[in-house]
Structure formats: structure tokens, C-alpha cells
């Protein structure tokens, strides 16, 4: 390939660069690799995501679709090099509006926006949508992006934090600048000098036995291939997992593959050579076995077992029982029943899995995208046969996660390659590899019956869900336990039996995805609630309010609740419900072929791991130079922990949030804050941060002999503490330095008080729950079955909004994913392995959102706060589906509600 190089001149930011490169290389790679313009992100290499959008002679282009030679003598602008003034205004606008979360799509979005802003300095919403329609964002739900672009040319700087308590302020994210200026280091952005590229040989079928041929000979014929690694090279335990007793997933399959795309070997060598290799001639032969792809097929009596020790392909069953559900249904005045199916849903973060690894002082150092650094460290060490302290995990910025980057991906493969070759190595999944090999949302087949008395009070519910957990255990057990705990919805259900089963198939492994099965269960329950409200003759919102859980109520798990803000949410929605209903009726009176409808659904969600210890530890230290450092081990995958945890720590200590310097996450530098999952970080790490701040504050009070602090300043080796009129200064340079390098330091751990669940699922699975409810307004085309979501009104009880701007960002982003779940997302193994055939919402699909933040403080939460990240997705799909039914009568029983399904359901309803 190198001998085919040509001279190519690229004009970038006014400077002409003369390169020698192959004319048919993707421009995106040339910009990233040859010119180090890493703001150009690679999300799909197919023009489907727009992350690599650059301006070529002023017009937006996907750099991944442009052969380098076509850019010869063109003027190219990337985020690093584009017009500095406009770039600065856009950056500040994005930060002020919370328009960047993970930041992976941000450079592409901003380049598209720049083209627009030059032509239309004050664009309207439609213009922004048209200009940005080709860039996908999976985090934000686009609404804040639209606002930021519209406001860019009026933006005069970054909004500063007000000089008062940080908690409650919408301060721009503290880690935001690198996300908006393109300098953030994601998994693919750091490659050590001399690093070798790793590619995986993957299974081309769903289920097979395999054996290798002459791999040594294959390597010998390819001098630039340094090594091939197979399972035989694995020194440790070739089975990882997120739940140690069930760890079952090989880093490289040994002789049996269980899903399409499972890796069996690694090829490592010179990046240019390995990248170009055709791996289809790798010496491996496959002997196909029968396979199953659905929970129904996996559960049939004669289905082949995926794991010998798991009879009936059953990974686990879950159960929560209270009262006498069958009798309650028998005695109920009204009973409704239904069966619902959901599909595999792909996380579709814009950053495919990627990372780099190298040896540093005898320690294997892995910098890769992740949501769970300490688990990565433990599981990777186990696979490699190393002690955990010989593995260091530095989380790269994660370009979206949503649950899937909780599982190990590139980490053990990077480790194997570095240990084998003794060289730094890197690995980047292609979009198709990412979609084949990453976990998915569990498809579910759920049946339920719910009964109510003559007054409309729910008396009992029976639920069963079969979930397709795919090839390996991953988070299947968590889904199977969380679903029965939550399947009642946040409603009093005195008699209840909910069961679940996680069934292995040869589909992709289903794991964690925002909500852990609860969104699927909520579709079942909330759609049946509309049926039940109708039978009871009650307004749908009023029916939900009548049954809403309140303080002192018992959950089906027997837990007595406190700080339940659901009624507050429903009350806040009530005027919007009335308005939306009137709007729809008015529209419907004027239109025959299109009808509007409204729907409502609620959510509850326990924050933290289910009935398990899951502590977080925060260290807060002050150096002799008066630097305040927050060792924050919670990975911020865009949701905002780096900002929210700092806000909590600053207020607990009594300093301005500006004084806080963030350290980590990094397993060598930060204590364990557990996983970024289960909506636990604001609550659990927040509590640890609050405690660390308070402990440090107490230490300062002791040192200064003050009884309270009204001010605390750090400067030039001195700490000055104020109490009203008096102040005391401490010479920090005179204090002894501890092992962490601090003169004052506090380290605190918080583990939520939970209990194990008994055989009936009774106990205290979570210490804190969050609540919410959403109204969807939709318009359905009666002839074509297409649905347009017009507006979502979302009320969420967050206990205390630590940062309202970031909380709204979570709400809008969750709604976008809920909208996708409801209307378009359906991962079909072997068919939708790219972002061309797998559809997620674009900027044109996302309606305006009205967020109502309800604050009913939880005594257990930090400053009253509850989790939010997953809650927000749960009500969206059922609210939309209920609105579709309200509009056109279509009872949807399988999501996504693609137009053909809506039209068929409309006909069935006639």
C-alpha cells in the first residue's frame, strides 16, 4: 500500500500540509493519524453517524467517505482549526446549554453548525435541524444542541458559577471544555508510539465448534504480523463476567462459539499491514451447530444447551410474591390481561469500543472506554493471570455507554496482546464489530393480568417475563431480579406475583441498558393500566394518581417507602394533561386523516445494585500548596458525575466549586466508586463525597478551633477559615504530608443499607428510589401508520436537583432513547449491524421536552438527591404507545411501533 502513496496537499486552517499517502485512504484517517486532528471522530466509517463531519471548502462532508485525493488542494476545517471566534462562541454556547454530554458527536455537530451559522447567523429551529440532520447524538436528545446553535452568535462567554452554594446551580459541566474544543481523549484517540494494532478474528455464524489450522504458518507468511493469540495463550481464567459466580464469557472462545461475531483469535502487528489484512483466510474451520435467536426458541424442550450447567438454557429466575395475587384477580371488579414483546435494542453509542495498553513500571496499563474501571481491573487481571495490582485501568473518555461499557470489551484483549508482544498495542472495534459483540437490551416476552376494585384501586397483579439473555450471563441476573421488584410500577399493588426467567440463546449477549429490564416491564404494566382505567371509567391520569405509591406504603417487596414524589409528579403534570387533551381534541375535530392522542406513564427505579453491597469511596485532600483535590473514581460517561460530585463535595466542605481539582478516575489514583450503572453515582458516590467533605470540614474546624465555617479560602500555601467576623489562617506548608501527598485529607465510604431478598423477593433491595411520570403527545397518520411525537412533558422527582441543567440533559437524553425504543429500534442479529439499518432518532425525530424537576428530598440521599439517569427512559415508550392508542385505537403489543405494526393494530382495533 505504501508504494502506492501519492503527494497530496491539504490546506487546513490556512496552512498547507504536503503528505505522502495512499489516494484512496479515508480522509478521516488521514486527518486523525497523519495530522493528529483527533477531533475528527470515527463512529461508523459509513456516513451514517456524521461524527467525522468536517468542512471542505466550507461545506459539510463526512470525512470517512472522502478518498484523500479528492481533498487535494481543498480547504479543510476541523474543530481544532476552524474560525476561532465562531468556534469559541459555539463552545461556550454548548457548555452553557448543556449541549455536550459524552462529547463524542460534539465536534461533528459543531462543524455542521458552523456551516449553518456562516449562512444564517441567527438560525431558526428548522434550519438547525436541516443542517444537523446528518449527525447522530445518543446522549442529549438534541434539544439542547438546537438551543445552543440558535444562541451561539449571542453567546459572550461561559456562564460563571454564582458565589453561593454550588448544589442547585446549573453550572456548566466542569469537564466540559475538552468535549467542546475537540481535545477530549476517547478510547481511539491515544496511541503510544510504536503501538501495534490488534484485530479480532470473529465467528461468522451463530453457533459452531471450531478448530484452528496452521496458525504459525499463517503468521510466518506475513512478516509484519507479530503474533496471533488464541485461547491457548491465556494464562489466567478464560471466563469473565460482571457477576463473579456466573462469569462465563471467554476472552477468546476455546473451541465453541455461541454468537455471531464472537472472537476466537487476535492478529497483532504493524498497524498499516494488519489493518489491511483480509482475515477471511485465517486458518480456522467451523462446524455449525443448530442455533436459537429468540427467547421462545431458546426455551423449547429440545433446544441445544448453550452452557451444560444451565438446564433448559435458563440462566436464572426471579420472583417477587406478596399477598394472594390469584385470589385478588378472581375477586376484582375489573381485570385486564395482555402479552407484550420487545426487541433487542442496541446502545448505539457513537464511539465504538476502543483502547490502548502498554507496560509502565511492570504494570499493565490499559486506557480504554469503560463504565467500571475497578471491575475491569479485577476481571482483566483474572483472565491474564496477573495480580490485580499489576493492572491499572485509566478510563478513556467514554463516547457514550448507557450500560454496555460496563462489560469488559477490549480490555482483556489489549492485555493479552501487550503481554504476548511486549509492545504497546491498541484496538478499535469497527461499527459492525461493536454491534455484533456488545451487549444489548434484553428482548422480553411478557404477560400480565391486573385487577382493580369497583372504585378503581388496584388489588392484584400477576406478571411473567421471559427475557432473551443471549449467549453469556453478563447482567442477565440483574434484569431477572430487577424486573419482578419493579413490574408493579410505582403503584400500590397489595397482592402480587411477578416472575422472570433469563434464557440463553445464540443471539448477542443481553446485558445492562439504561433501566435493566424495567423499561420493558413498564410497557406491559402501563399499557394495561390504560385498559384498566377505561374499564374503571376513570381518567387515565387520575387512575394513576389514585393508585400511586405514597410515603409509608409498602412495595411488593415489603419495603416501606419514604420520600415518594410520584403524586407530586402526577400533580405537576395535571395541567399539562388537560391542556394536551384539549389541544388534541381541537386538532382532531379539524382533521380526518391524522389524529392526535395523549398518553401518560410513570416510573420508579431503585438506585444502586439490587440487594447487594455496592459502596463508593471518595478521597478529598488539600496539598501543602493549598490545592484541593477530589479523587473522583466514578466514570463520567456524559451524565455529569465529574460536575455533580464536585458540587456536593464543595458544599459539604464549604468551598467554592471552582476550587475543586478533579483527579481520576484511574485505578492507581482514585478509590473505588463502583460502576457507573443503576443510577447510583449521584446517590452513592454523592453520599461518599458529602461525607468526605464533612470530614475534611470537621478537621479544619478542629485545627482552627472554630465552631462553624462561613467561608473557606485556599491560596499560596495557606488555608483561611472564616466564621462570621473572625478568621483563622493555617500555614499548610508547616503540616506533615501523608502517603497520598496531602496535609489535610479525608476518605469516606458509603454503602447503601439494603438487605438480601428472601425466596419470595421480600426485603429491602434499594435504599433510595426515584420517581417520575411523562405525558406524550403524538400525531398518527391513519392511512400510513406513521407516528410523530409532538411533545413530551416530563416530571421527575430527583429529591434535590444538584445541577438542574444536567438533570434536564438526562431527561431529554433518556426520552430520546425511549422514543427510539417505542418507534424505531429493533436489532436483528445478522441484519442490522450498522447505523444504516439500525435506526436511532435523529435531530428531526426529537420533540420539544418540558422538564419539571420535582424535589422531594430523600433523607438517605446526599442533600436529599435521588438517582435519575435510568428513570427518565422508563415512562417514555409506554407514554408514546398509550398516546398512539388514544389517537387511533391501535393497541401495540410489539415494539418498536413501526408504521406497518401501527397500521395493522389500527385495523385489528376496528
Amino acid at each position: 500500500m505504501k508504494d502506492r502513496a501519492q503527494n497530496i496537499s491539504l490546506s487546513i486552517g490556512g496552512e498547507v500540509h504536503h503528505l505522502q499517502c495512499h489516494p484512496g485512504r479515508r480522509l478521516s484517517d488521514v486527518l486523525r493519524d497523519d495530522l493528529n486532528l483527533k477531533s475528527v471522530k470515527i463512529g461508523c466509517d459509513a456516513g451514517d453517524c456524521g461524527a467525522c463531519t468536517v468542512l471542505i471548502d466550507g461545506a459539510q462532508q463526512c470525512a470517512c467517505l472522502m478518498p484523500a485525493l479528492q481533498a487535494h488542494c481543498c480547504e479543510i476545517e476541523t474543530l481544532e482549526t476552524a474560525e476561532p471566534d465562531l468556534s469559541q462562541r459555539l463552545q461556550d454556547a454548548f457548555l452553557n446549554h448543556g449541549a455536550a454530554q459524552c462529547g463524542i458527536c460534539t465536534p461533528g455537530i459543531m462543524m455542521a453548525a458552523m456551516e449553518l451559522l456562516r449562512a444564517a447567523p441567527h438560525p431558526d429551529e428548522a434550519e438547525v435541524q436541516a443542517a444537523l440532520g446528518g449527525v447522530l447524538c445518543r446522549c442529549t436528545g438534541y434539544r439542547k444542541i438546537i438551543k445552543a446553535v440558535m444562541a451561539a452568535n449571542e453567546t459572550t462567554g461561559l456562564r460563571a458559577a454564582q458565589d453561593c452554594a454550588a448544589v442547585g446551580q446549573s453550572i456548566p459541566r466542569l469537564d466540559g471544555r475538552p468535549k467542546v474544543d475537540g481535545s477530549e481523549i476517547f478510547g481511539a484517540d491515544h496511541v503510544a508510539p510504536g503501538s501495534l494494532l490488534i484485530r479480532a478474528v470473529r465467528a461468522p455464524m451463530y453457533h459452531a465448534d471450531f478448530s484452528f489450522g496452521d496458525t504459525a504458518g499463517w503468521v510466518a507468511e506475513r512478516p509484519d504480523v507479530h503474533a496471533v493469540i488464541t485461547a491457548r495463550d491465556i494464562a489466567g481464567v478464560n471466563a469473565f463476567g460482571v457477576i463473579p459466580p456466573l462469569a462465563d464469557q471467554p476472552a477468546l472462545a476455546e473451541s465453541h462459539i455461541r454468537y455471531l461475531g464472537e472472537p476466537v483469535a487476535l492478529v497483532i502487528g504493524d498497524p498499516d499491514v494488519v489493518e489491511a489484512l483480509d482475515l477471511s483466510d485465517f486458518p480456522v474451520s467451523w462446524k455449525p451447530r443448530p442455533h436459537s435467536l429468540t427467547e421462545a426458541d431458546g426455551a423449547v424442550a429440545d433446544a441445544a444447551l448453550l452452557h451444560k450447567n444451565r438446564p433448559d438454557n435458563t440462566l436464572i429466575c426471579g420472583n417477587v410474591t406478596c399477598g394472594t395475587a390469584d385470589a385478588a384477580l378472581q375477586d376484582a371488579a375489573h381485570v385486564v390481561s395482555g402479552r407484550f414483546e420487545t426487541s433487542y435494542v442496541e446502545h448505539a453509542y457513537i464511539e465504538p469500543e476502543a483502547g490502548a495498553a502498554w507496560m509502565e513500571g511492570g504494570v499493565l496499563t490499559i486506557q480504554a472506554c469503560t463504565q467500571a474501571p475497578v471491575m475491569d481491573q479485577e476481571e482483566t487481571a483474572k483472565v491474564l493471570g496477573l495480580p490485580p495490582d499489576k493492572v491499572r485501568i485509566i478510563p478513556a473518555a467514554a463516547g457514550g455507554g448507557f450500560g454496555s461499557k460496563l462489560d469488559l470489551t477490549v480490555q482483556p484483549l489489549l492485555g493479552l496482546a501487550v503481554l504476548k508482544t511486549g509492545r504497546p498495542c491498541h484496538m478499535v472495534f469497527s461499527r459492525t464489530e461493536s454491534m455484533q459483540a456488545s451487549t444489548k437490551r434484553h428482548p422480553g416476552t411478557m404477560q400480565a393480568s391486573i385487577g382493580a376494585d369497583a372504585d378503581g384501586r388496584v388489588t392484584g397483579m400477576v406478571f411473567h417475563g421471559d427475557f432473551n439473555t443471549g449467549a453469556y450471563a453478563s447482567w442477565g441476573p440483574t434484569v431477572a431480579t430487577r424486573v419482578p421488584v419493579h413490574a408493579s410500577g410505582p403503584y400500590r399493588t397489595p397482592n402480587y406475583r411477578a416472575t422472570s426467567r433469563a434464557i440463553h440463546t445464540n443471539g448477542p449477549t443481553a446485558g445492562a441498558f439504561r433501566g435493566f429490564g424495567v423499561p420493558q416491564a413498564a410497557i406491559t404494566q402501563e399499557l394495561l393500566y390504560d385498559d384498566l382505567a377505561e374499564k374503571c371509567g376513570l381518567d387515565r391520569l387520575a387512575f394513576r394518581r389514585l393508585n400511586a405509591l405514597a410515603d409509608g406504603d409498602k412495595t411488593p417487596s415489603g419495603q416501606v417507602l419514604q420520600a415518594v414524589g410520584l403524586r407530586d409528579c402526577l400533580d405537576a403534570l395535571a395541567p399539562h394533561w388537560t391542556r394536551a387533551g384539549e389541544d388534541a381534541a381541537e386538532f382532531n375535530a379539524r382533521h380526518a386523516d391524522r389524529k392526535r392522542g395523549i398518553g401518560v406513564a410513570s416510573c420508579w427505579y431503585g438506585c444502586g445494585n439490587t440487594a447487594l453491597s455496592n459502596p463508593s469511596t471518595i478521597r478529598l485532600g488539600i496539598t501543602a500548596q493549598a490545592r484541593l483535590r477530589l479523587h473522583q473514581g466514578a466514570t463520567d460517561i456524559g451524565q455529569g458525575s465529574n460536575t455533580v460530585i464536585a458540587q456536593i463535595a464543595a458544599d459539604a466542605l464549604g468551598v467554592s466549586v471552582d476550587a475543586v481539582e478533579l483527579i481520576g478516575p484511574d485505578t492507581a489514583l482514585t478509590p473505588d466508586c463502583g460502576k457507573t450503572s443503576a443510577s447510583r453515582q449521584t446517590f452513592i458516590t454523592g453520599r461518599a463525597a458529602e461525607a468526605a467533605g464533612q470530614t475534611l470540614r470537621a478537621a479544619i474546624l478542629r485545627l482552627t478551633n472554630l465552631s462553624d465555617l462561613t467561608g473557606l479560602e485556599l491560596g499560596a500555601g495557606t488555608l483561611t477559615a472564616r466564621q462570621d467576623g473572625t478568621h483563622r489562617s493555617i500555614d499548610l506548608t508547616a503540616l506533615p504530608v501523608d502517603a497520598h501527598g496531602y496535609v489535610l485529607c479525608a476518605e469516606e465510604t458509603y454503602d447503601p443499607p439494603t438487605t438480601a431478598l428472601d425466596e419470595n423477593g421480600q426485603g429491602t433491595p434499594y435504599a433510595v428510589y426515584g420517581y417520575g411520570a411523562q405525558i406524550a403527545e403524538v400525531e398518527v397518520d391513519l392511512k400510513l401508520g406513521t407516528t410523530k411525537v409532538l411533545h413530551i412533558t416530563a416530571a421527575h422527582d430527583v429529591g434535590r436537583a444538584i445541577n438542574p441543567l444536567l438533570a434536564e440533559g438526562q431527561i431529554e437524553g433518556g426520552i430520546a432513547q425511549g422514543l427510539g425504543l417505542a418507534l424505531m429500534e429493533e436489532y436483528i442479529p445478522g441484519q442490522t449491524e450498522d447505523l444504516h439499518n439500525y435506526l436511532i432518532p435523529t435531530i428531526g425525530d426529537m420533540p420539544p421536552v418540558t422538564s419539571l424537576l420535582i424535589e422531594k428530598p430523600d433523607p438517605e440521599g446526599p442533600m436529599g438527591a435521588k438517582g435519575l439517569g435510568e428513570h427518565v427512559l422508563i415512562p417514555t415508550a409506554p407514554a408514546i404507545l398509550n398516546a398512539i392508542r388514544d389517537a387511533c385505537g391501535a393497541k401495540i403489543t410489539k415494539v418498536p411501533a413501526l408504521p406497518h405494526r401501527v397500521l395493522a393494530a389500527m385495523k385489528a382495533a376496528r
Binding site: 501519492q6 495512499h22 489516494p23 484512496g24 413501526l898
Partner: protein, 277 residues
Amino acid sequence: MTDRHLYQRPDTLSDALSLLASGGWQVAAGCTDIFPATQRKVLDGPTLDITGIADLRGITRTDKGLRIGATTTWTDIIKADLPAAFDGLKLAAREVGAMQIQNRGTLAGNLCNASPAADGVPPLLVLDAQVEISSPEGVQTLPLAAFITGPRQTALAPTDLVSAIHIPVASMDGRSHFLKLGARKYLVISVAMTAARIVVTDGVVTQAALAVGSCGPVATRLPEVEAQLIGQPVDASLVTDAAVARAIAPIDDIRADATYRTEGAAELLRRTVDAVS
């Protein structure tokens, strides 16, 4: 020719044709289909990049009608000053992917890729587009309907190059419209799409051209339905479900089932006709 890394970008059509004559080339222009088709970082070749041939890009009036050069992009179409008969083509151009794709993708590439869901085919079918094929032996033109012979199949020989698309003068009358049905806004492969061009003289339809895409192996005109419209005032209700169903051959796929496509295409076509009235 075995060197898959060979990449040529000639300046003239004759140079391109000489190279093609040696065989084995993949012709590249906007690369919006061929780059996604390879998962690799370099175009699998040998690649003949025709974007360096200035004469192949642009829209020109000729005495026979309108000539759209092979490397004319969708954005070029959107920006061009064209008669109302091309409104449908412009609407289709705005529905091709999103702006990044419209800025790169070419009309001729869309035809050569021959996807059953190619956005450009129905609006060009209703313009009676002719495909100009250049080869070392000379130039010939084929009606678009004869050019696309099946899904991902064309009448193009390995040594041929599409050099232009011609729209005959006689087909540049009237008004046109285009509708695309998909599961999301932007960047979407259609479930069905329809195009219509209608000429009304003295209150009645004197020319009617209708086409449906994504509802069969190739997009198709609907002569039976077109005939129904002739001689009447524009009336979308003359587009019957039965007649549309007879003209198309949809399949079930991940985006929709065949039953839905049949009904949806008829409804979409009625709306398209209605929009031209």
C-alpha cells in the same frame, strides 16, 4: 490486474475510458456507497476516481433537453435553477441521507448502485431519464428503466462508464412531486417512495408519469394508473389500491412487510398526485 491498491484519478473522459478498457476497475465518485461497502480504511480497488474529470459535473441545457453530468451531486441539483418538472427530483435530493451525503453523493452513482431503495430512481423515471453510457467504442443511451436490470444490477459493462443522465425536452413539462416514507427523519432508507409528474392542459391531464420505489426489485413506472389519469382533471382518487398493487412486487424486510408496502405505496402515490394538482 490484481493490485487492489491501484488508484487513478484521470482528468479527461478519454483517459478514464482508456483505463477502463484494461478491465477490473471499480468506478468511484462520491463514494457514499462504496466506502460503506468496504469495512477497510482504504478503498478496495483498483479504483478509478472520475471526480477529476471537470466535464462530467454540472447541469447543462442542450437542444434535446437537460444533461446532468455523471458526477453532479444532489446538492448541485438542489441549488440548480430548474423547471417545475424537476421539483420532485429536488425533493428527492433533499431526502438523500443528510447534507453530508447530498454534498458528496452523485446522481449517476445512485443509479449505478442500483439499490431497490435508491432515492433518485423514481423521480428520474417520471422525467423519462436516459442514461448516457460511454465506452471506448462510443456513446449510447439507455432508458433508465432498461439501465437498472435488477437489485444491484445494471446494464453497464465492466468497460463502460455512465457519463451523464439526459432528460428529454418532452418530459420537462408539467409539475412533479416526490414523497418518501421511512421510520425516521434524515438518514433513512425508505419503506416506500413515490414520484409523480403531471402535465395539465386546459384543465385535464395530458401527460402523467408515476413511479414507485422500494416496493420491488427495482423502482417502476405505473402505466396502467398513468392511463387512468389522462383526460381527467387531476384526481388522486383515480389511483386505486388494486392498480398500484398490480404494478409493484414488494417484499417483507426489516423495515416493513409487503402488505403494508402495497397499501402505503398507493396512499403515498395518491398524496404525491394530490400535491401536483
